[in-house]
């Protein structure tokens, strides 16, 4: 592998699962040209919806559970980052708990709005816990509810931050 080649997490996870005797996990594979909506206005005049899957919740909200949780949370985009928490079964949350911006980049986005590079932020950020093994439940339960919320917030852009 070349020095600067990215880690192949698919190969690595398959190897780990096989060693543990688990069946192969099949990542979603989408061939062909993905759907592509053009920008309706300049980024500097666009309202952005942030969607993050690092299991982020706000203190006082119900935390995520670790068995295919298909619920989501709404977190105001002006939230004090000191109130943000994480609950996720699969990644090392040390950095995220020290500085939530590493998986929930709200402070840089607010700074970009302030300096005029971005038009604005939708009122609420949407969060959930990724690593949902059931693609059926994701498709049938989580995605429609996220879409309904997104439609209501009428963003010009959506930024997706997985972990």
């Amino acid at each position: 592998m070349a020095e600067d080649a990215p880690v192949d997490y698919i190969a690595r996870t398959l190897a780990t699962y096989r060693k543990l005797g688990y069946p192969d996990y099949r990542w979603a594979r989408n061939e062909g040209v993905p759907p592509f909506a053009p920008l309706s206005r300049e980024v500097s005049r666009s309202r952005l919806l942030l969607i993050a899957s690092g299991g982020i919740y706000r203190s006082g909200q119900v935390a995520f559970h670790h068995k295919d949780d298909v619920s989501f949370r709404e977190i105001p985009s002006d939230v004090d980052t000191g109130e943000l928490r994480t609950s996720h079964f699969a990644y090392d949350q040390t950095a995220a708990r020290r500085d939530p911006n590493v998986v929930f980049p709200i402070e840089p986005l607010r700074a970009l709005v302030k300096e005029g590079a971005l038009g604005g932020l939708c009122d609420d950020v949407l969060t959930f816990m990724g690593g949902i093994y059931s693609q059926r439940r994701l498709r049938e339960e989580l995605v429609p509810r996220l879409l309904e919320n997104a439609r209501g917030q009428a963003p010009d852009l959506a930024l997706l931050v997985p972990v």
Partner: protein, 135 residues
């Protein structure tokens, strides 16, 4: 996130997916993506580095405006600074937490705060996703 990106685009909402896992992102094939070669858990930057986080997000907005070919992944010009890929221990066991449908709080104080607002049945036990309060 690929599924969500595709669904939003189909509704006419342009999306961009940040990634630090090239192979997974290439497989789910989102319409627009940026790649940051940092260890997992640092999708949008390093902790306590607000200036770098700001530059990363500035590059992301630029990619949003510039990507014209669906399926493009833009590699962002940031380096972790040491070879974390090699330093990472070989995975031999399963480090993931036990999977149950009981909410897992970061702290006891969080559990108490949610319990006070929503009661035992929703804050501390498994319930259907549509019954979990979103706020």
């Amino acid at each position: 996130m690929g599924l969500i990106a595709h669904a939003l685009e189909a509704e006419g909402i342009p999306t961009l997916c940040m990634s630090s896992a090239w192979s997974i992102t290439a497989s789910v094939n989102p319409p627009r993506a940026t790649f940051l070669d940092f260890p997992l858990g640092h999708t949008s930057g390093r902790p306590g580095r607000p200036e770098e986080q700001l530059e990363i997000l500035r590059d992301v907005l630029r990619a949003f405006a510039n990507i014209e070919t669906p399926g493009t992944i833009v590699r962002l010009p940031y380096s972790w600074g040491e070879d974390w890929r090699r330093a990472e221990p070989r995975e031999t066991g399963d480090a993931r937490t036990e999977r149950s449908d009981t909410p897992v709080y970061q702290s006891e104080a969080d559990r108490s705060a949610a319990l006070a607002r929503f009661g035992e049945s929703r804050a501390c036990r498994g319930c259907a996703a549509q019954d979990v309060p979103t706020r």
